[in-house]
Amino acid sequence: MKRANGHSLPKARKDDLVTRQITGELLVYDLKRHKAFCLNNTAATIWKNCNGKRTVSDLAATLSNDQESPTDEKVIWLALDQLEKSYLLETRATRPVGLPAISRRSLIRAGILTAVTLPLVTMITSPVAAQGATPITDVVCTGRHQSDPGGCGNNPCSPPAGSKCINGPGNTCKCA
């Protein structure tokens, strides 16, 4: 959403997501990228209120109201940065010129520690089914071809422990 001054306001992505609210956290699954996220209450409140109409100041006020504690706008920027990196925003807010990169550490160092918990977005990549499979040997893996249905399969292989059957040179597969 763009304003008259050309600045855009943050808008949460809605498509191709599965969400589930649990006590104090929001679970999100990105069906396109096969990533799963856990948003703590602060990050979830900010994300849910990103409707393309609220400014960063509005979001800070909403969060303050929700958590009954004043919120620095830098906390909102930290959340927006994490949400953007996680592809959970359809539109991101235009960053003010000169606003430095914000990290949790920089906020703590700057003494911006309010009663509001800092936003946190935790992510994992969802496994393909074969990653849960019983491992295959190197001989079985190298006997596969990338052109086979299912490709190299991505099965865990051992030895070496911790390796997977992945694409090798040309049409081959290898444990690595």
């Binding site: 104090g24 956290e25 699954y29 089914a129 086979d148 249905p149 865990p156």
Partner: protein, 220 residues
């Protein structure tokens, strides 16, 4: 469709043919060791069931029951699940599985008590061991989850876990869920219910005995 072609020695010649296992056109195994091919077949079949079972979410995990509550130990192969499960069973826990935590729509864990796949040090192949030979018994009724232990073995490490929130615990389970991609909505409905009254601990472990003692202390 699976295809199993059994090789063996031809009577008219000394040529020994390979045993072959295919899933559609994908070759899963090609070896003269028939036992290995059959094990691969069993494993792939289990994986297929785990991914597409209706109304059940399969998490790659070891599971034991203790006082009508379940301990779930999610993890990939070689993370030491079977070692912990074996020790817990030897300490008196009911055996549920060393491979899959099978969760229903209410978040209860069902038994999947196949013989334990014990791997000896520096060996790739597992040996199947019946739970009775360990002095244990299999569980039979579905249990609520009381404890989730996310860990892997590191020589010399001390068990000093940190407690995770339910949301982070959910990610630990989802990272080991076979149908995470194919039945996402089901996993999103089932796993939070399974964690409803569970504590989730994460950390590296050294020898299994220390962890087992800590787990049983938590469960009492």
């Amino acid at each position: 469709m699976f295809s199993l072609i059994v090789g063996g020695q031809q009577s008219a010649s000394h040529v020994q043919r390979f045993n072959l296992l295919y899933y559609d056109a994908l070759r899963l195994a090609r070896t003269k060791d028939l036992e290995f091919v059959l094990k691969s077949f069993e494993s792939e079949l289990q994986l297929l069931v785990a991914e597409f079972a209706r109304g059940r979410t399969f998490v790659h995990a070891g599971v034991v029951g203790w006082k009508n509550q379940a301990v779930v130990i999610p993890g990939t192969s070689f993370s030491g699940k079977t070692t912990l499960v074996t020790k817990l069973v030897q300490a008196g826990a009911k055996y549920y599985s060393d491979e899959y935590a099978v969760m229903d729509e209410y978040g209860l864990v069902h038994p999947f008590p196949r013989p334990l796949g014990v791997r000896r040090p520096d060996e790739f192949e597992t040996t199947r061991v019946d739970v009775a030979s360990l002095g244990g018994t299999p569980g039979s009724k579905p249990l609520p989850v009381r404890l989730v232990i996310s860990t892997h073995y590191r020589a010399g490490a001390r068990w000093r876990p940190r407690e995770l929130t339910r949301g982070r615990g959910f990610l630990e389970l989802l990272a080991n869920t076979i149908s995470a991609r194919s039945q996402t909505k089901l996993a999103f409905a089932t796993l939070p219910k399974a964690l409803r009254s569970a504590e989730v601990l994460k950390g590296v472990r050294g020898e299994a005995d220390d962890v087992v003692e800590a787990i049983l202390e938590k469960m009492t």
